[in-house]
Chain length 464, copies 2
Amino acid sequence: MTADSKLEKIAEIKGEILKRVRPTAEEKIKLESVRKSIMDDIVRISQEQGQHGILPLSVGSAERDTWLSGSHDIDVFISYPEDIPFDEFHRKSRKILTEMAKTGDSWEDRHSEHPYIHIRKEGFEVDLVPCFRVKSGACIKSSVDRTPFHCAYIKENIRGLEEDVLLLKQFMKGVGVYGSEVRTGGFSGYLTEILVICYGGFESVLEHAALWKYGVVIDLAAHQSLKHEHPLVVVDPTDPKRNVAAALSLTKFARFIDRTRSFMKYPSADYFKHKEYAPMSADEFEKQMAARGTEMIGVSFQTPSAAEDTLYPQLFRMELSLEELFLRNEFTAVNTFSWSEESGESIVFIELLSAELPPLQKRFGPPVWNANNAETFCRKYKTSPDTFSFAIENEKYVAEVPRKYKTAESLIDDLILKETALGRHIRDSVKNGYRILRKEDIMKIQNENFWKFINEKLTAQIEP
Amino acid sequence: MTADSKLEKIAEIKGEILKRVRPTAEEKIKLESVRKSIMDDIVRISQEQGQHGILPLSVGSAERDTWLSGSHDIDVFISYPEDIPFDEFHRKSRKILTEMAKTGDSWEDRHSEHPYIHIRKEGFEVDLVPCFRVKSGACIKSSVDRTPFHCAYIKENIRGLEEDVLLLKQFMKGVGVYGSEVRTGGFSGYLTEILVICYGGFESVLEHAALWKYGVVIDLAAHQSLKHEHPLVVVDPTDPKRNVAAALSLTKFARFIDRTRSFMKYPSADYFKHKEYAPMSADEFEKQMAARGTEMIGVSFQTPSAAEDTLYPQLFRMELSLEELFLRNEFTAVNTFSWSEESGESIVFIELLSAELPPLQKRFGPPVWNANNAETFCRKYKTSPDTFSFAIENEKYVAEVPRKYKTAESLIDDLILKETALGRHIRDSVKNGYRILRKEDIMKIQNENFWKFINEKLTAQIEP
């Protein structure tokens, strides 16, 4: 493909994609009307409650015209004067949220440390978040106080580039790197917008990203004030100490580089469409596992009731911790991954080269000149009738002894609570009971999403 | 045991051992007569051949009264003036050795780079070694020229400590650390003598050795001139650049420390008696292997005709190299060891946790930002119909592909000549043919010494 025909091809793809992702006039009118009614409700309710100095702020992508057609997210912040005390802020904002909840078709309390509710209204998903109106993003009182500054910064700088943001968001969705929840570890909307502003447009972001390496720094305002240990550092224009890309995982960063490079070589509309894996059948799973010859072990427990962004770090830590436990005991892990269903079961999987080890284990002791430890080691193993052999290799004692954990199951049963680093929520759940799943148990799981997930894990392809 | 009763006990043991290892008057007379006749023969033959300036030098432990009863070793050097050229030295010395060979009951040419023969005479094992009479151990012309200086140094300094040397040598034999051949990697006679001179006696050597750590330096003449990377550094009093303990392996060094510490705690005459392992029966071997659950693989080939000190380093290197080859291919080695029979077969053994691996192998590619290597890796694996999955993990591409070497045998057959570091002699022999031995093949071996060796390897105990 010549450079010219490639440019033509990209222009053509962009047109095609924009037709799909640009919100229609009708969608815009509808969203505008819902948003206005929410803002009005907040003003009305705060007045009825005699609360003064309250300002509703629209802060989402809807506000800056960078929302994708078909998405129905509205973010409205309820801002309080900076100087009111925290307890007053909590008390007063709860009062408003209680009334606002009634204006929705349904609602959920989503507060963790910070108060906040989610309501559904006329088909829209609305986050209502109280915050402080601070002077700048660098002197916030609560973590959400930054958002209005982000929104203002983007509104001021994005003019004319809104469609480039739409294209980049859709591209990222297509290649599976969009979304800043911990579970995904991808790019946030704000990060996408900053990239477009920085590089000046959709193609320019892709051209640059194709050449990224670990440790790229993007500092729009040239005011970075801290060193970060992240794959990508994008200094927040509204707060120089913050890396906008702090939540981006190395895997998603690398995937984006790979996909942009590939797209720039062979442009195609396929990149904008996220690959859906079909559910794998239990029989196909059995066939796959036979072909792999590995052993798949799952540890299943009741999903703790915790926010996803609390739960997933704990699941990831459990994967790592299990892998280390197995490694310490001479089992070799090929893969680990986690499945979790809200108010259902969570399963941490570990795929092993073998789930069984021979009875003999070689244990290395201390160097001979470490007299005290040497005595302990010799007392333990040298005279034991079970010891196969006891010798010195290089500077160390070495005993061949019966292996304590010959099977993956015995290892998990004995040490899952003793020798793995489990997060608080998962630890409590595992204490209440867990099951070890082998292939036969896994095959019994009836859940379409689970089998899509398994298909993706076992047969992943980076496509197109 | 009180300190006093311990000292009494040690004194008693020493007396008992000395009775066994002190040569009898009869033995001394016999040895003296054979040695004298050899020295006389050298003088006579050199005169008959018109060679002038030749001096026979008696240099062995016999010369310094530190030989153990029952040993029948005599070392006689045939010294030439320092200034004769190498080719003349070789020609002339060969003439004398040719005649000397005829004075023995049998003889062997043992020269490698240096000319030297071994003769058997009236029950004695005699080494006849030509050398240059240089001015000091620091300006030798050939490596053997040092020996006369060693002998002179010991004779001058050992007076009154001869029996301590006998005790130390016998102790070292008993605990399996005596002998400086590469195969053994233990203490040489000269090293033993230096230690006795340094510490002043048998018990004192043991007391000090019990506290040794890696890197002890012993410098009798306080003239060390080089740093050595060895567990034990004993500066040669006759050549400051040389470490007398350079050939001592870390394992034997550590074993000596362990055994001395143990002896000083619980003195016993058992330490002076080398443990002989009984031959293991093939049935017992089968039982042992079943209990261990591991897989024993041997690579057998014709023992190359090379001196032991040339062959053993090559065998050790092959063990290490095979272990690395297996590790690179995800097999886990528990032990390696080598058996070698002169003019018979040599076998390098590797004991594995498992001799078989599952069909799936996970291969990590380059980081995504390494564009050229990335392309090569993707081309190779991404589109291959055999690939199970292709993904990105952290910064790297990772492909799950069919494993090339699922069995230890296929790995050896494909790569033993391509990807192991084999010494010249072993490489030539393996090229000529090798066999892979499994348990059933090993069980067919008919050789008592082999089965003693296997018994020691599988059931080693540090005793007493």
